[in-house]
């Protein structure tokens, strides 16, 4: 099967132009391994620092003719939604052959016309922002991979405009306090921003309506800000829901208090299907110290801050407000690489070139597919575990904001603390279990001794003495063995092996008398075998112990 990769931006596009590309030399190697042929439009990766030569080296061909590149493709990989190609005088939908497949961001909620157009052309379109947010699909989740980059870049943009250090310093000339960074919304982007700011040495704090993210914020060394009003804002699917007015009042009061203190504010709040909530009001900006920076990562969806203008730097009352919508695209190489990997994982999920299938039983494929075989298949039928419907309120550009996208979390381990406790309980009973064993052994021996010793008083007395020695030795053994380090359990076994060769004494006791007697022969053999144990056990222990070194 043939995959086409095309230029995302034209020289005639308004700024900021798309810098990312849907496949990189790295991802092309993997696509080849899946059995695909890849043809790349000349210059497609230039803005992301991938010249044509690198694509060729990775095994792709450079398409001689841009129109032909579309027409010959079975699958088109895109970053941005399908668009008009002014340079080719045609729309991408029409450049593709009927029935082709497209993978890329699509935003069907606000591109109804485009959706209809794709349907009419019988295209199969998988919208990357519609990949369900289930744990299996995390590796295909392009919103998260891009939001992570955007969060990082947001901090760097802020640092670039901020007139001081992030980290505190004691210099000969005097003291510089560390910057205080407030991140509103601890989703993927927010957590990335927190991590980056922490790495630069800032004091970080974060606010999120979902109580569940508290642990994540604190694990990064951040402070989780709380309002006194109790309400959990988990709206499912990794987003926050809209809160009650009373809660919002408390939240705004908290923000006003913070505004006087912090140097950098990064807002990431988004509510799926609606414009971004306003939460950093003009008066809050005015409360901030001059020279402070606000980065509004929701600028694309209308912004979280009253003052924000999309794609512009606004200075209000001395406070710098950044409304960039292309934050991920400002790291074009990494953004393309990760996006390319997301696509590779999705293509792998769909069977690669050999087992290619648009399988509607696959929850991920079903969720992402918006048109298929001449029908619009969006939104997907509601499923309790399925993701939120496409975030329709997001403008066409990059998937920046993603307020409360839960951070990728591997397999949920049910309570680490609980487990530790269980383990300790185990250990407690483990220590007593051998005693049960030993007691059992003692009972057997005692029973045997008493039942066979008969009524001979001195015999009983003698047996009782031996039993005492045996019992005491068992307890000494238990005490001593528990202190053995687990790393030396193998040497422990071999040394006890050697020591149990002490049975050689038993053989030696029976060596008296004529050698021809069966008892003496048997005793001699016993000595032989027991000595193998002694020699072998001690030497092999010595060999092993010699190897242990620091």
């Amino acid at each position: 099967m043939r995959i086409a990769v095309v230029r995302e931006a034209l020289a005639t596009d308004p700024l900021p132009r798309e810098t990312r590309v849907a496949a990189t030399p790295d991802s092309i190697k993997r696509l080849k391994a899946l059995g695909f042929e890849i043809s790349v439009e000349s210059g497609a990766g230039e803005a992301a620092n991938f010249p044509d030569a690198l694509y060729v080296a990775a095994g792709a061909t450079i398409a001689a003719d841009a129109r032909e590149n579309y027409a010959a493709a079975d699958i088109l990989l895109k970053v941005r939604p399908l668009r008009q190609r002014d340079d080719l005088d045609a729309h991408e939908v029409d450049l593709l052959r009927v029935g082709a497949t497209v993978l890329g961001f699509f935003y069907p909620g606000r591109n109804a016309e485009l959706l209809e157009r794709a349907r009419a052309r019988d295209l199969t379109v998988l919208a990357m922002e519609c990949v369900p947010r289930i744990s299996r699909a995390q590796k295909m989740d392009a919103l998260s991979s891009q939001a992570n980059i955007a969060g990082y870049r947001a901090v760097l943009e802020a640092a670039n405009r901020f007139g001081s250090f992030f980290t505190g310093q004691m210099t000969a000339a005097g003291k510089v306090p560390p910057a205080k960074v407030l991140v509103i919304g601890a989703g993927v982007a927010g957590l990335a921003a927190l991590g980056t700011a922490k790495g630069l040495g800032a004091i970080i704090r974060s606010f999120d309506t979902r109580a569940a993210v508290r642990e994540q914020i604190e694990s990064m060394g951040g402070e989780f800000l709380e309002v006194t009003y109790k309400e959990d804002g988990d709206g499912g699917g990794g987003y926050a829901k809209e809160m009650s007015p009373a809660f919002l009042e408390a939240e705004y009061a908290l923000f006003r208090a913070q505004a006087k203190e912090v140097d950098i504010v990064i807002t990431t709040a988004l509510i799926p299907g609606k414009p971004a909530p306003k939460l950093w009001f003009k008066d809050m900006v005015e409360l901030m110290k001059p020279g402070s920076v606000v980065v509004d990562m929701a600028a694309e969806s209308g912004g979280n801050c009253d003052v924000t203008v999309a794609d512009e730097v606004v200075v209000h009352n001395g406070v710098i407000v950044l409304g960039f919508t292309d934050l991920a695209g400002r790291l074009p190489t990494t953004a393309s690489n990760l996006y390319g990997q997301n696509l590779v994982h999705l293509l792998t999920d769909m069977g690669g070139a050999t087992g290619w299938k648009v399988d509607f039983d696959d929850e991920v494929v079903r969720g992402a597919t918006v048109t298929h075989q001449g029908a619009i298949t969006w939104p997907p039928p509601a499923k309790p575990a399925a993701a939120p419907a496409a975030p329709a309120a997001k403008p066409a550009a990059a998937p920046v904001a993603v307020a409360a996208v839960a951070a990728p979390e591997p397999v949920k381990a049910s309570g680490g603390h609980g487990h530790g406790k269980v383990a300790r309980e185990h250990l407690g009973s483990a220590r007593t279990a051998p005693l049960t064993w030993v007691s059992f052994a003692i009972l057997v021996v005692a029973y045997l001794g008493l039942s066979t010793a008969g009524t001979d008083a001195s015999g009983l007395h003698h047996f009782a003495q031996q039993l005492t020695i045996f019992v005491l030795s068992c307890f000494v053994g238990v005490q001593v063995i528990w202190s053995v380090t687990p790393a030396l359990h193998t040497p422990l076994m071999s040394v006890t092996n050697a020591i149990s060769g002490i049975i050689v004494v038993g053989g030696m006791l029976h060596m008296h008398g004529d050698l021809a007697q069966p008892a003496t022969i048997l005793a001699l053999l016993a000595v032989l075998f027991a000595t193998i144990n002694i020699g072998g056990g001690f030497l092999v222990t010595r060999r092993m112990l010699r190897m242990f070194h620091k």
Partner: protein, 472 residues
Amino acid sequence: MHSSAEILGHGPMDVFKGLAWVIAGVLFISSLRGLASQETARRGNGYGIVGMGLAILAMLVAGTKDNIAFLIGALAIGATVGVTMAQRVAMTAMPEMVAILHSFVGLAAVLVGYAAFLAPGHLGVDSAERGEIWLDVLIGAITFTGSIVAFLKLRGSVSGKPLLLPGRHVANLLMFGTSLALVVPFATQPGTEALPFLLAMTLLACILGVHLVAAIGGADMPVVVSMLNSYSGWTAAAAGFMLDNNLLIITGALVGSSGAILSTIMCRAMNRSIWSVIFGGFGADAPSGGTGAKVVGDMTETSIDELTEELRNAKEVIIVPGFGMAAARAQHAVKQLVDLLRKRGVNTRFAIHPVAGRLPGHMNVLLAEASVPYDIVLEMDEINQDFPKTDVVFVVGANDIVNPAAQTDSTSPIYGMPVLEVWKAKRVVVLKRSRGAGYAGVDNPLFVAPSTRMLFKDAKAGMEELVAKLMA
């Protein structure tokens, strides 16, 4: 019952012998005590050697001088054979070595029991002594044949699959009960007339030993080997009662409790009850009756190139070795990898699960053989809390010991077994020979977790490629 005076006597030689044995007993205890840490372990082994030498010397000096030439000959031959075996054995073959040594103890105990029975002047009916002979031979025979089967299984000479005969528990009980019943005629019949009962019991015990161990699967061997270790101790103790020899009683009790503790530790680590181990055949019965939730999802494969990159960029790496590393003899290649990473300033450590491998502490010995410093080889309890801040966890030939289902899926057969929480790390790379399930036959949701990458290669070949790539 022959009196203790017969053995200990009252002459100066006997006093010397008695003293020597007390000292030997103390030395054996110090020997085990020495294993508490790597620093003192070698000295501990030395104590053991001195103790044993003293005990044998005392016997030679103060014991019977009949057949002394043969006795010394047997000692010399036995020691030579033992030393040769110990020098030749590969560290990966330690489990077999330990198992075969157990069988020698069992065999020696059986022989000593028969010698005591047949010894001139002991053929009169002394029911107490008979009872002790019976006990010594019973445990000795079970240890002997059980260890041989364990040895063959570990060596791969017989299949590691558990042999599960129908009604095996009933058969075991019958055999054990019959053996137990045979003590009555054996203890009461005069002279050689009792011999057939002893022989019959020995035969039954031998079959019982084979059957008990045959019913246990290959990967449950750590438990079995430590259990046999325990039996070999009880055998020696029984011989001590039989011969009225306190040194044997003390030593046997030490070794017996050592094995019992090891078995318990292994059982806990595998989530098995100790009783199911003693009665065998537990490896195949899913304790909870379930098979665990079916794991759905795709494994994501990785390549040597990608892994090299990830390792180069990591700050914290933890390697989790399993039986696959031992089977492929990959420990030296692993050591090279660790050296390369540590040279680059990557904090690389090992996490060892108590039942990784086929013998308690097996992984530690293999890593020590490859001269991995022991202070970077950590136990499960020491390292489990470090996984969340680890960049890359590299699982080499392990499966069940890193299965999150043990904590999350109550229907899983391994539910409740303590496991290494590798899935909390940022990236888990699993080096594995094939896509198959682990020994327990349980699906592992770790393999399809989003942060997990799979590398399907032989442990050694994969490791060597990785090392070559990292050096380049």
